[in-house]
């Protein structure tokens, strides 16, 4: 064996070659994501402007500020509500819908194409479109409701209902993607499992519960965890529709962080500290879910 061959053979077992598989992603993430992440941890312990100058170390002062910041606590509440409204529908609802349209019939393909449509609209477009459609005075939905003899619903200016509208829009945008991802998972389920279930006389619902759902569990975990992380960071749908209003009832944590980081001179230290708190929450949820996932694998 030539030395090159010997080296390659030495590197071939999974325990060694695995590092070559993960290296490109780790290097890129290290450069463009983890470095900034560490930087923002550093910033959370300091006071800094938005252009990251005038940096001075202040220890845990920013975190102490958080404790008495009612607007931050409110933003956590808003974020929690939005997450609880959205994640179950994304993780379970999209699974059911995905399974329903998984077969490659023409009708199902059409439905899938339709469900996929919202994700190809940019946030800017979604914002102006829905603000106009749901406008409580000149919007089309308002007009349609009035034609049906129903009263006005102030979709975007109500301290009670606007948060549900935001949640709906967030779902509207990404529900289809979750469903499509489930479709691909369902299509990769071994067909012999269905044949076996059919021989046992299982109906569609039984097949879904006994075959589909268990087989696509990795995808379920993927959707659950990414949607959790995504929902807890909900921002641009809010930014383009309500801007966090009315009266902060839809101001998520990231929306508040953005306002603090860039409004009037910027308070990057404080914004970073709030992000670290949010990060800790998300990380906690993720690690708990991850451990369950590993146990199930």
């Amino acid at each position: 064996m030539t030395p090159v061959r010997r080296l390659l053979t030495y590197l071939n077992p999974p325990s060694r070659s695995a590092y070559f598989f993960v290296a490109p992603s780790i290097l890129l993430l290290l450069a463009f994501n983890l470095t900034p992440l560490i930087a923002s941890f550093g910033l959370s312990l300091s006071s800094a402007s938005m252009t990251l100058d005038r940096i001075s170390f202040v220890g845990l002062e920013q975190f102490v500020r958080i404790l008495s910041d009612a607007r931050f606590l409110n933003s956590l509440k808003v974020t929690a509500i939005l997450t609880l409204l959205e994640v179950p529908l994304q993780a379970f609802g999209a699974m059911v819908i995905g399974a329903m349209v998984a077969n490659n019939s023409f009708w199902n393909k059409t439905l899938r194409a339709v469900y996929f449509l919202p994700i190809i609209c940019s946030a800017t477009v979604i914002g102006i479109m829905w603000r106009m459609i749901l406008h409580s005075n000149v919007g089309f939905v308002t007009y349609a409701l009035s034609l049906m003899g129903l009263g006005k619903i102030n979709f975007l200016n109500s301290a009670q209902t606007t948060i549900f509208v935001v949640s709906f829009l967030s779902l509207w945008r990404s529900f289809g993607v979750s469903a499509i991802i489930y479709v691909t998972a369902v299509q990769q389920v071994n067909p012999s499992l269905y044949e076996a279930a059919q021989l046992d006389g299982a109906g569609r619902i039984r097949q879904f519960l006994n075959v589909t759902a268990p087989s696509i569990r990795p995808t379920f975990w993927f959707i659950l965890m990414t949607r959790f992380a995504g929902s807890l960071q909900i921002f641009d749908i809010i930014y383009v529709t309500t801007g966090g209003g009315p009266n902060f009832t839809t101001e998520s944590t990231v929306a508040y962080v953005y306002a603090r980081a860039f409004a009037s001179g910027g308070d990057m230290g404080y914004a970073s500290a709030m992000s670290m708190v949010l990060f800790a929450f998300i990380m906690l949820v993720t690690v708990l879910l991850y451990r369950r996932m590993i146990r199930e694998d």
Partner: protein, 431 residues
């Protein structure tokens, strides 16, 4: 080789690498484009929307006509502020920007003193209206050169006035009258509201509320102080606004512009930009100065100006000055870009010479927007020398109004809470 890569994938990877290499080369080429010109300066602003079209046209004209070989590379960005922030953090960025004096504090320390613009260009300082220049100053230093004077005006729908039996040519002269008119103009059966004030539009509310209770921040014995708690004028406006919302003469609505355009609002307070939409929609409207109230005569404006960031070299700064000079210089026909801009957009001019032009005088829109008492104070919401107007608007005024509107907070309690926040902001500038 033992690792015989699957050929398709190998091809894919090769292509990807080739593509990446090529792209990085292209990128380099684009970055250095225009090097053969004597000087190219970057000009960033946020004039998205229709007025951006005209700005593009004017900048093109400058690039073609200037004798210095200057190329102004303009980038209109919907994320102007984020873009500028990150560029400045890296020590790079444009040589020329447009920003509001209300935003200036955000980029504190990143703008060069431009007070020598008059000496360097021959522009006549005496031609510039002093109160607007004052906005751009911090002590002796000047950070912006006026570009656009943004005032808010009263716009009313004449047809709706006629329908309600009011004189279509007569705008309300006082806020008391405004309230009475609003009640008369409201017609719930037609989904028409008399008044169109937005509960979350801090800029709009600020222009109105200061007519009632004066400035939110003033200077006393060299110290800044906030004037919210116990401000009877503010309390009066807030009470009246809440009443209009409760009575349904003003909609509970964050987005009133489309309603004005659709003819569902009879009176609103806005800037000249609204006229574009109103003209397109064929609305028959009038413009008037804002009614005054207890705080006395005032002509509140925000000044948008040219700024030169600290990253600009002396040569770039000089080129930026040339552009500013060109903007304010008349051609053979007696027209200047500044004049064209005013005529097109309806913003009052900041120089006496432009205001004196015949075409300016004969514009109905400009005649009204420039008709304010020239001696009236032009401060917008706070003393114009106070650096952080933005925080006072977004963190003090907007939350205060919304807590009254949505939580039914008592007006005086809301003012006291706002005072506390404002004290915190003001204290930062008293050290």
């Amino acid at each position: 080789m033992i690792l015989s890569i699957h050929s398709t994938l190998r091809k894919a990877i090769t292509w990807a690498l080739v593509a990446a290499l090529l792209l990085s080369c292209c990128g380099g080429a684009f970055a250095s484009a225009g090097a053969e010109e004597p000087i190219t300066i970057k000009f960033w602003n946020s004039f998205t929307g229709a007025d951006g079209d005209q700005l593009v046209e004017l900048v093109d004209r400058f690039n073609q006509s200037n004798a210095y070989g200057i190329t102004v590379e303009m980038d209109i960005s919907s994320s102007f502020s984020d873009q500028l922030t990150s560029a400045l953090a890296a020590g790079t960025g444009p040589a020329l920007v447009l920003m509001s004096n209300a935003m200036r504090y955000q980029f504190d320390g990143y703008l060069q003193d431009v007070s020598d613009v008059f000496a360097k260009t021959g522009l006549d300082q005496a031609d510039f209206i002093q109160s607007y220049l004052d906005y751009c100053k911090d002590g002796e230093a000047m950070y912006l050169v006026p570009f656009q004077i943004v005032g808010f005006y009263l716009f009313w729908n004449k047809d709706l006035f006629t329908a309600a039996g009011l004189d279509p040519e007569k705008a309300p002269a006082t806020w008391a009258e405004y309230e009475t008119f609003a009640a008369k103009l409201t017609d719930a059966s037609k989904n028409v509201y008399g008044s169109g004030l937005c509960y979350n539009y801090a800029y709009q509310l600020a222009h109105v509320i200061q007519r009632f209770g004066g400035l939110a921040v003033t200077q006393q014995d060299g110290k800044w102080q906030a004037n919210l708690a116990g401000n009877a004028g503010y309390a009066k406006f807030l009470t009246s606004f809440k009443k209009m919302l409760d009575e349904g003469t003003n909609p509970l609505e964050a987005d009133t512009d489309p309603m004005m355009t659709a003819g569902q609002i009879a009176m609103t307070v806005s800037g000249p930009w609204i006229t574009g939409g109103l003209d397109t929609a064929g609305i028959n409207y009038g413009i008037a100065l804002l009614p005054q109230d207890d705080a006395g005569v005032m002509n509140s404006v925000e000044v948008l100006g040219f700024g030169v960031p600290t990253v600009a070299t002396d040569a770039e700064k000089q080129a930026a000055y040339r552009f500013i000079q060109w903007w304010n210089t008349e051609d053979a026909q007696g027209s200047s870009p500044a004049l064209e801009w005013a005529l097109k957009n309806g913003f009052p001019a900041y120089t006496y010479s432009v205001q004196a032009k015949e075409s300016y005088q004969s514009s109905e829109k400009l005649r009204i927007t420039s008709s304010a008492d020239p001696k009236a104070p032009t401060n917008f919401f706070v003393d114009s020398r106070f650096p952080d107007t933005g925080s006072m608007l977004m963190d003090v005024l907007a939350p205060m109004v919304q807590s009254i509107v949505f939580d039914n907070t008592d007006v005086n309690a809301a003012l006291e809470a706002a005072q506390k926040t404002a004290d915190g902001i003001v204290a930062g500038f008293n050290q």
